[in-house]
């Protein structure tokens, strides 16, 4: 079933197409939600809410990107709204602190699930900006707009996230060397 057929079927409220959409993308969206949410339960709730939004708004999908990209965008927006609703306090740091960080090959030796756990362990603010910048590929300006913060705060949150990740990497390397 092509994306077009899938979308058209979902708009027609065809249960088979709706189920296919669920089967095809739900686990990927769950992975995304897990990176933004604090717990498994919260991520599951976000996943369901995201799918409700997706089913309700599929008619607005214009095929200007892939369906998966659009769905990820919907899920990211929903997770960000949840974070904003929690009124997280964002802090900013100086440019010098921003320059600290990991090297290009820092994650080369790590498995995906290890990276995932490290990302999940980050505090909310760091994690959100890190996810949006490093993984989703948004610019700091876009992130600032999405989160209602200024660009410097976005950069500082990202920098802090990298510092924490570096510490986690150091620990992981130490552990692997010891073993």
């Amino acid at each position: 079933m092509t994306e077009k057929e899938l979308v058209d079927g979902c708009i027609r409220e065809d249960r088979i197409c709706q189920r296919e959409l669920w089967n095809r993308y739900s686990k990927k969206i769950m992975s995304l939600c897990l990176r933004y949410c604090n717990s498994q339960e919260e991520a599951e709730d976000a996943l369901m809410e995201a799918y409700v939004k997706i089913y309700d708004n599929l008619a607005k999908f214009r095929f200007q990107s892939s369906l998966e990209t659009w769905m990820r965008r919907v899920a990211v927006n929903l997770c960000i709204n949840k974070i904003r609703a929690r009124k997280h306090i964002w802090s900013s740091i100086t440019e010098d602190e921003y320059r600290l960080g990991y090297t290009d090959d820092a994650f080369d030796n790590l498995q995906v699930d290890q990276i995932m756990k490290m990302v999940e362990a980050l505090p909310v603010g760091y994690r959100t900006v890190f996810n949006l910048y490093a993984i989703e590929g948004y610019s700091h300006k876009d992130i600032a707009d999405m989160l209602g913060i200024d660009e410097g705060t976005s950069r500082s949150q990202f920098s802090k996230a990298r510092k924490v990740l570096q510490q986690s990497l150091d620990k992981a390397e130490g552990g692997s060397l010891a073993s």
Binding site: S26, F107, A134
Partner: protein, 472 residues
């Protein structure tokens, strides 16, 4: 510095990562959540729409009221604050005839005793000749008090500052007789201390407007405009004018009412002896618009149009007792030679309760033509309203299974006649001029004629309603 390669690697690694979730998260759960959301929207969207509509209508009504009674609608009659103050030298015996030309219109005529004999006064009066064709000759042979003032009244008809009329006032004789000088020379001999009659000129269209706003004798000017309620009184004259000037007679007897009513009922049956029992809730939302007429003694009668939704959801449970046979077998060894064993079959019957549970819901959308009666009364210092209403109508849409405590029956695809009866009472709060808000708890008996079962079914739901009443 930005670790772009690393980020790309990370993106590639995490982008296609799939994570498992618990069993509670499933496609069915998502669809159920979506249905719940839709149901909520179905209830709230019409409610919000009606409330928003009421506010819009109210707002437009207020706008209309304020626009309709704007001061531009009626000609302004304003008293000029400029006062003619004669000089001391001009005070003296007025003993000669003067020719005065008065212009414009005069709202009222009152007597005064200014220094008409003075040349300055004559010249000020002469300024008014340009806009007047009326000549008044006043003869006076008495010294007048310098304490009198000559206010000017601006004409509503003329834009020229010259076209003003004169009004002479005398504090001693505020209601002196009025005479109109029409293209003639008037000569008057005025007694000492008496007011001098000069002129009264009446502009008929202006007077007609004025009559709406002040007493017919034109003695007291009334400010126009509703912004200051203290100034908008209408003095009711006595005698023969009384009936025609009764403000109550000018009030409209027609009203329009917009109302939103909700109600609910819980259906519970815990009787263990019933084979079928239902545990459910019923809700209704009813919106109506009525035209009402005040028929006197606090009663209003009227009719209109209404739309209602009546939904219910819950669970049914059936209990059935089955008689089940149980056979126990025993092998009994008979020790009497020859030893042999005997198999004994012990059959017992027992009753087992079998329960089945399922979900149930229904929806009835209907329209009706309500016939309403309202009674307004005072309780203490609060105005209250008692309303009764009968809504004969028909269904627009039916679906699901209607239920009672011990039964349910399908009502799909039926066009049914409906009859609802509503009783409501509550305080009536005046929110603005001619606008009243009524908050009324209500009881509504809703019925429909099930054409398949040839039976009329009904339930009484209780709830709360909000009405807005407007007199037009």
């Amino acid at each position: 510095m930005e670790n772009q390669r690393l980020h790309t690697d990370l993106r590639n690694k995490l982008h296609d990562l799939e994570s498992p979730f618990n069993d509670r998260v499933s496609f069915e759960a998502v669809m159920e959540k979506r249905e719940r959301k839709k149901r909520r929207a179905i209830i709230w969207i019409p409610t919000f729409a009606v409330v928003a509509g009421l506010f819009v209508i109210g707002g437009l009504g207020m706008l209309w009221v304020s626009t309709d009674q704007s001061p531009e609608k009626a000609p302004q009659i304003t008293l000029s604050k400029s006062v003619y103050k004669p000089k001391f030298a001009q005070k003296g015996t007025l003993d000669k005839t003067q020719h005065l030309t008065l212009g414009g219109t005069s709202a009222s005529s009152e007597t005064a005793s200014p220094e008409i004999g003075s040349s300055e006064f004559a010249s000020s009066i002469a300024r008014k000749r340009a806009s007047s064709s009326r000549v008044v000759r006043v003869s006076k042979n008495e010294t007048v008090s310098p304490g009198f003032e000559i206010p000017e009244i601006a004409s509503p008809e003329s834009t020229s500052p010259e076209s003003t009329s004169l009004k002479f006032t005398s504090p001693e004789t505020p209601q002196s007789p009025v005479k109109v000088a029409q293209e003639e020379t008037l000569t008057a001999n005025v007694a000492p201390k008496e007011a001098v009659l000069v002129s009264n000129e009446v502009n008929l269209p202006a007077a007609a407007h004025q009559d709406m706003l002040c007493d017919p004798q034109g003695l007291k000017l009334v400010d126009i405009g509703i912004s200051d309620p203290e100034k908008t009184y209408v003095e009711i004259p006595e005698g023969e004018y009384e009936r025609s000037w009764d403000p109550e007679l000018l009030k409209s007897k027609w009203y329009v009412e917009m109302s939103a009513t909700t109600g609910s009922k819980v259906v519970i049956n815990f009787n263990e002896e019933d084979r079928l029992s239902v545990l459910g809730n019923m809700y209704h939302a009813n919106y109506h618009g009525l035209i009402l007429k005040d028929v006197g003694s606090g009663f209003m009668l009227g009719g209109g149009f209404s739309y209602g939704e009546w939904i219910g959801n819950g669970e049914w449970r059936t209990r059935e007792f089955e008689e089940r046979m149980k056979i126990d077998t025993f092998d009994v060894v008979v020790m009497i030679p020859p030893v042999q064993s005997v198999r004994v079959y012990d059959t017992t019957y027992s009753q087992v309760r079998v329960e089945e549970i399922g979900k149930i819901n229904y929806r009835i959308n209907k329209i009706a033509i309500p016939i309403a009666v309202r009674y307004n009364f005072m309780l203490g210092k609060m105005s209250w309203r008692l309303g009764a209403q009968v809504n004969p109508g028909m269904t627009l849409r039916t679906s699901g299974d209607f239920f009672g405590k011990t039964e349910y029956m399908p009502i799909q695809q039926q066009r049914m006649f409906t009859l609802d009866m509503k009783l409501a009472t509550g305080p009536a709060i005046s929110v603005y001029k001619d606008w009243v808000l009524i908050l009324e708890p209500n009881m509504m008996y809703q019925t429909f004629n099930d054409q398949v079962a040839k039976k009329t079914r009904g339930k009484t739901l209780t709830g709360f309603g909000v009405s807005v009443l407007h007199r037009f």
